[in-house]
Amino acid sequence: MRILAIILAFIATPVFAETIAITGGKIHVGNGSVIENGTVLIDDGEIIAVGADVDVPSDARVINASGKEITPGIINPSTSYGLSEGAGGKFGTDTSANNSGMTASFDVKYALNRGSVVIQEGRRQGVTRAVSAPGSSGDIFSGSSALITMDNQADMNFAEGAMHAKFGNAANRAVAWNRIRAIFDQTLDYDRNRSRALRGQAQDYLLSVADMDALVPVLDGDKPLVIEMGSEAEIRGAIQLKNDYDINIVIQGGQEAWKVAAELAEAEIPVIIHPEHNTNGNVTMAGSTFSNAKRLHEAGVTFAIYSGNGSLYYGHHVLQFAGMAVAHGLDYDAAIQAITLNPAVIFGFDDIAGSIEEGKSADIVVWDGDPLEVTSNTDHVIVRGVEYELVSRRTMLRDRYLNLDRGDHFGKRYQGQ
């Protein structure tokens, strides 16, 4: 029986979405509000009711969450989920265009591995959706990310992501801005004179036609451009870029974003930050501080929290980092929002997920304590209305060695002298 359960958890067989009522818990809605002692009602994969006064149908499976806390599924806005598995060998990692000549046209979606045990582990820890983003191509534009659900299902890639750029890949900051602008101007020219370009009668372009095709939706304002940068000077340049090209910019890193907070709020540029960033040997980012989150929030900047570039083994660390931001002055509910609703807003899927509201996908986590506290863990994880066992390859390893005398590992014990 135990073996069967583990196999089920591994293959993540789609289960018929049942009717589930989670009762009696403290509900962090994700949008900044809290419902004490509330009920979440789930049916057919969706949240159909939430509140302090919800009738529980007789056929619902009840999860008693009294004394526990409930959040929307955690959303990590910068990961490599599904693109790497222990970083082993030539095909151990599929995160980047890897100097293959592609830049903006690179798209991670073709390489997503639905069977990844790393996704299973992230889900066990409470991460239910993620942006699976490309690593560095070697040039400024890294390519497109994929939006994924953390359920190992065939349709886990539920939407297109954003275009990602790594500012630091140019020779220097001046080169980066000039190159980005030249590429944008050429892409606009190519888009207007497409047939001439394809007949070979146009100017020489810096990027390939395929790369420019990938940038057209960015210049049309349909696809966000996530630029990784940290210093005040770079961030001011990004605001200028948005004003000049009228595109949808997101800043990732943003160590010194607090210095430009009012301008970012006015330009409606969201920031994806890492609260761990408080020291920087690089003087251009010497303003890195634990207070970044607090100051951005107070200035009205929309921000999300990430756990490092291409994070996948530590995707759930955004909870700890959100807690650290609270320790350094950030409003608690804003911290929850920065790891649930805000990433969904920034990547344009807040109509589907990110908060516990009627009509949204039932991505719910029940915690055994304060979700941002390091001593708390998940009790129940539900993705798209399906509850998954809190089992992963790592818990199986643990169980194998938890009792050495049981001998279900190989070799009773070390016999060497």
Binding site: A87, N278, A286, G287, S288, A327, T395, R398
Partner: protein
Amino acid sequence: MKLANVCKTLLGVSVLSVASFAFAQEADNRAPMVVHDKNPFPSSYKPWPSVMTAITNAHILTGDGGEIEKGTVLMDGGKIVAVGADVDIPAGAHVIDGTGKFVTPGVIDMHSHMGIWTDGGNDVRAKNTAGLWGEHSIWPQTPNFPAAVAAGVTTQLQLPGSANQFGGRSVTLKMVPGRSTEDMKFPGAPYGIKMACGENPRRVHKSQGGMSTAMGVFEGYRSSWIEATEYKKSWDKYYADYEAGKDVKAPKRDLKNETLMGVLNGEILIQQHCYRADEMVNVINMSKEFNYKVTSFHHVVEAYKIADLLAEEDICAGMWADWWGFKLESFDGIDENVPMMAAAGGCAIVHSDSDNGGQRLNQEAAKAWADGKRVGLDFTRGEVMKWITSNPARAIGLEDQIGTLAPGYNADVVIWNGDPFSVYALAENVFIDGALHYDRSNQENQWITDHALGYVTAGDHQ
């Protein structure tokens, strides 16, 4: 005591003469006996001025497993004088009311990369660079150090990186401002040698046309130990012959083998980077082959697979709370590693291996504690505190000076604004040798390194 032994045990003395040998006043025509100074870069650290201080009504975690829910810590002259629920406070003591606060020993990071990575922590010239001294790559002006003391860290072991089989010597630092690395060095701390097995040396040296297999790594280790054993023999013979009155010439000095001889003589501690259980067993067997002791393993994500053996062999295990997966040899890392090591009776340690994460060792220990609890491995708060205080002190050979709040120990003390095993906990006051080095409420006096000066204001990094 024989003269040679007196000379050989000359430690910690700054020799003012340029020559690094002592003259034996022998009434003969032989050349003076050659004795190399084992401490040519001596600590110049001086404790800051301190006053007799009593922290009262505090929740104390003593670091050696003890917990006092409401007690007093008294320090004077840079040392802990008394700890307990019922401590007499001498007249004239400065009293800090610790009501609602926690008091612990200063946090010890037995594997930090704050400050040694300025120009890279690896010198990839050879597989064996045991002659490198990590302290010569420390940058005392890194902005990381003030952040560490603000997080309750008072002592760090800094090591060269893991590109080589023998990376070089470690150095133990106090989190105090200094104009030189020597100003930060922990006086009299034993040296360690960083060794690395596993993927790193294989990957690095393969790219240089060198060894590319685990077999190659161990062949290199053993060849180096054979060479070091011969080196030690040549010096032992030299001293024995000299004592016997023979006119003998000293062997040629070799920095690499001098470090390894220090290990074989029991003076230098092995700090061994290793991930996998099977490789650790190989390392332990090799230590028996060459008759030395492995003091600590670092980064052992698979400690849980051989926790009983590590406990039995009395080898400390420096671990992350939950890092795993970033390379194949870390793929079996589990969240319960630290508590499983502790449950086996072993010396479990939470370390950072980072230039940033060392600010959160209290949080990391808390994560491991909670993960253990979920599978029935429960520890008291006092026991968990050992993972970041007295156990790392043991791993770096300073268990009789730091890591515990008990009479006679250095007064490295942290006052936290709440339970240190919470994500919301912040260090309010940090004392090193009884002197207040960090005060969260007084930004005027907060440490800003030269490098950060003019870029940040006090408190920005906290």
